[in-house]
Structures are given as structure tokens and as C-alpha cells.
Symmetry: D2
Subunit: 158 residues, 4 copies
Amino acid sequence: MFITGGTFDKEYNELNGNLYFKETHLFEMLHLGRSRLDLSIETLMMKDSLDFIEEDRAIIAKACNLSKSSKILITHGTDTMTITAEYLMQQCKDKTIVLTGAMVPYKFGSSDGLFNLGSALAFVQVLSPGVYIVMNGKVFEAGKVKKNTEKGEFEAII
Amino acid sequence: MFITGGTFDKEYNELNGNLYFKETHLFEMLHLGRSRLDLSIETLMMKDSLDFIEEDRAIIAKACNLSKSSKILITHGTDTMTITAEYLMQQCKDKTIVLTGAMVPYKFGSSDGLFNLGSALAFVQVLSPGVYIVMNGKVFEAGKVKKNTEKGEFEAII
Amino acid sequence: MFITGGTFDKEYNELNGNLYFKETHLFEMLHLGRSRLDLSIETLMMKDSLDFIEEDRAIIAKACNLSKSSKILITHGTDTMTITAEYLMQQCKDKTIVLTGAMVPYKFGSSDGLFNLGSALAFVQVLSPGVYIVMNGKVFEAGKVKKNTEKGEFEAII
Amino acid sequence: MFITGGTFDKEYNELNGNLYFKETHLFEMLHLGRSRLDLSIETLMMKDSLDFIEEDRAIIAKACNLSKSSKILITHGTDTMTITAEYLMQQCKDKTIVLTGAMVPYKFGSSDGLFNLGSALAFVQVLSPGVYIVMNGKVFEAGKVKKNTEKGEFEAII
């Protein structure tokens, strides 16, 4: 698993009322889910995906290619998740790569993060090589999905 | 989806301090997870799986066989989940049936329910026909899994 | 009780990642706290207290003076809570007025809101007429308290 | 503050589905509430108040009398809270003693515990010597209150 930030990991700064990144909640979430999967977890960056530059995507692609694992889960902000997915589709071959995220920070009680983490970890175990986005309980192939920013959900491109 | 009760749906009765079943939290959990899957949900019973009698399992098997869907998710208490899975393996052919549950009630804050629901819904979409148990982020085939009651987790039978 | 907004009632907008006001959570919080107090609740405004203008404080003072109750609780953003308290001290006599708020939105799981609401409702019942701020489990008299913005807590002015 | 157990501190045992006591959540709750009160906290016992014997109440009374503080908060199961309050009224003079508890365990998300803790800490600071029960946002004098077990709330005895 590679962690890149995104809404998943945002926290509320009670001193100034802003949202910010402190550290990932992935370990806490996996503990809560009683996950017994054998995972290797690395934080690549802690950024809002709107702030991603080309270099960030290159770092992610490189990490995927260098990884000994053939099954990779990436947590990622939802705003540019489809862009990174298409980029990885070009750069990384022969691996099952799943990107997931959250619409609401895990720390905010009503988050979809734990649900998405559960489904993403399941899909990555069984899907054939390729790059996928897992959101809303569904799996989408990279290049065939867009975020509907009005509804706040992901949709297949027909 | 068929709901049969289990820890998933237990609530705390503040008048007498006991745990009991009121109504399922599945709809609330799917809403929280921002699921956009097209699901048909039916409550078959609301029981602790330790209280299941043969008749209950017959009801579940019948519901699976009568269902028009070839992909079925069943929420079930963890204590006798493996027994029901083996029973369904005998009674239901040509369908992908996934059983899942929770170690801690959804209503109790620290529940694994949302994580399990996410992974179970993912696995049921992609697995080939058969009966499976999804717990702890893992998928197990019916008949090849047991609940380790000391650790509170599911393990493959070697 | 008068509701004026503040961190108490902020929510996370999952479409754009901003914090905003939708509606008050006071009723939900009082329900959660099993409050059986006979309360009359009115929303005067839904604003971040940094955005308060003199007119807003005049509205609050007028509402306090017009109220038939001699015991008034006001939920208020913490950033300018001390300013409003001093203003009310000038404008409203012969009433016990307590201002409280939260450092973290109620909706964000780790909020101090429910604790503050409990202590504020307790203090307002027993304190003699005057204007007070209740935060951090403590009560402060208007004019003798400041918000320590570095620590995120309220302190008595010596 | 003296901790005696009660619903406040019950946890869910995921191995056998029973409720039990592990350790108090008081420190976590005070942290969540951003309490800045100078408190001394001692756990006297961890029991369901239905299991209290005369000796338990003697221990509590002795602890109150030996305490250097004149203001004491006791967390207590709600089922026999009124009995302990009346007992303390006989045994402890010249101190402000407040008993509070919760209808739902703190760990179960929908608990009234944080609200009650906030109001109890407020009342104990300002009430004159005597023994009181703080529940449902209200304060009751020992001997003049009963638990309505059907409604799950405390009421004044008229």
C-alpha cells in the first residue's frame, strides 16, 4: 500500500479551523477493520490531490514499479484520482493497482473511508493486472471513469 | 443481500443494559459508504447465530435459490457462520454467495462492520460461483475456514 | 438557548472539501445527552464568529433582553466569544447569560461540544445574574477571560 | 473524582459478546472535552452498581471523608445511584458530592456520558455542600430523586 494523502487523511486543526495533514490513519483503520492481511505500507506524500504536480505522479509510478508486490493499493485524493490512474496505466505494466480515497475525512465520523478501504483491499486481491479505481462500492478501469463533482461520486464513462 | 442478524445489527438497550436486535443498520452503512451499487435487500431473520436452528439455515438456502440474482451477500453472526456456509455449499449451486459479519456491533463506534461490508460487496462482484466467508479483509472458501474464538478472527483450515 | 453558529455547528462539504453551516446539531446533541430540561431554542444566525459584525451582537443582545427567560445559553464561535460576552455584559442586565462553543465541530467525532454543552447548561441553572463563558470545564466572568489561541483554550485574565 | 464503574465504563468483549469492565474512559473523556480543571482521579472499584454490596458503599464514603477536597465527583452505575447517594448523605458531611453516570457506555458512540460528565463537573464547582445526582442535564438532591426505569431517566420525587 502506498499512501499519498487525500481527504482520507485530513484532520481538523482546532487552533485555526483549517483542515490539514498530520499523519495517516491507515494503521488505525486497518486495526478497526480487524484486517489480518499481510501488508507493507509506505507513505509517499501527504498532499491534497489538487496540489499534485507531474513529479508526484512520477514518484508514485516509480514506487509501484520498484515494489516487489504485484498487487498495490494506493490511497489518493479523489479530485485528480482519475488522472493519476491514467498516468499509472501508461507507466506500470503487469501489476494490479487499485486507487481509492474518501469523500469525507476518516476522522469526521461519517466517513466512507473504512468502507472504501475494505472494498479496495478486496478488489486488489482478485482483479487481473491493470489499473483500477474503487469508490462507491464499485470498481472502474482507469481511463473509463470520471468523478461527478456535482453528485460527489464516480461514474463509468460510456 | 440477505440480512440474518448477528453482531452487525446488535444494539444496546439502555433500559436494561442488554444487547438486542431492533432493526438492521445495513441501509445506514451503505449510505455512509456512499455505495452506488444496485442492491436488493431483504431481512430474513434477526437472530444471534448461536440461536440458529436447522430451519433458519433452510430459510436462507431457500431464499438464495429463489433469488433472481447470481450474486448474494449474507450478513450473519460470526459464531456459526462457517456452519451456514457449509450448509449453503450443499444446497445452493451456481451462485456466488458471500457471508460476512462483524466482531463488534456497528453501533459501538469501533466496529469492523463497515470495513467487512466493503470487502464483502467487492468480493461478491468478482468471485466465481461458490460459497465464501469474507472477514478480516480476507476471503475463505466454505469448508476451508474456521473461527479462532481465542483470537476473534477467521483462519484457513490447512 | 440562542444559536449563533460557530465551530459547534460546522459541517464538512464533501463536494468541495470546505467547512460550512447547514443546520444546528443542538437538538441531536441534547437528545444524545438525554437532556430532560425544558428548553426553548432559537437560531439567531449561523456564522463563524470571526465574521460577526456589530449588528450581529446587537441582534443577540436584543434577543436576550426580549426573552422571557432569566437564564440564557448562547452557542457561539470561540474566536470572538469574549467580545460578545463583554458586549452583552453592557447591554443585558439581570439575566444569567452563558456563552459556550467548541474547538472541534460536533460532527467530527472528537468534539468537545457535548461536554461543553453539558457544563454550560449546568452552570446557567445555578449562577447568579451576569454574563459568563463556559469552556474547558470552567466558568469565566465576561471581561475577565481571554482565548489563548496558541493552546486553544480559555484562560482567566489576572 | 472517584470512579466506581457503571455503564460509563463498560466495554464490548468481541470474543464472547458480553459487556465488561476493562479500564476507565474518564481520562479519554476529559481529554476529549478539553477539560482544564485541576482534578485528582482515583478508581475505587469497577463494578456494575447492581452488584454493589454494603461494603462498596462504605469504601466510597470513606474515600470521600478522607479526601482533602471539599468537592467530589463520583461516577456510578445508574441502577443503585440513588441508594449510594442517600448513604453518602448520612456518612459524609460538609462536602459537595455529585454522582453521575451514563445510560449508554461511552464506547458505544451514542453515549450520554460526555454530556453528563460536563454537567456534573460544572455543578460540583458551584453547589453548596450536600449530596447530589446529576443526570439528564438536571441536578437532584439525594433522597429526593428516583430512577424511572421505564423511561430510563431520573425524576424528582414529589
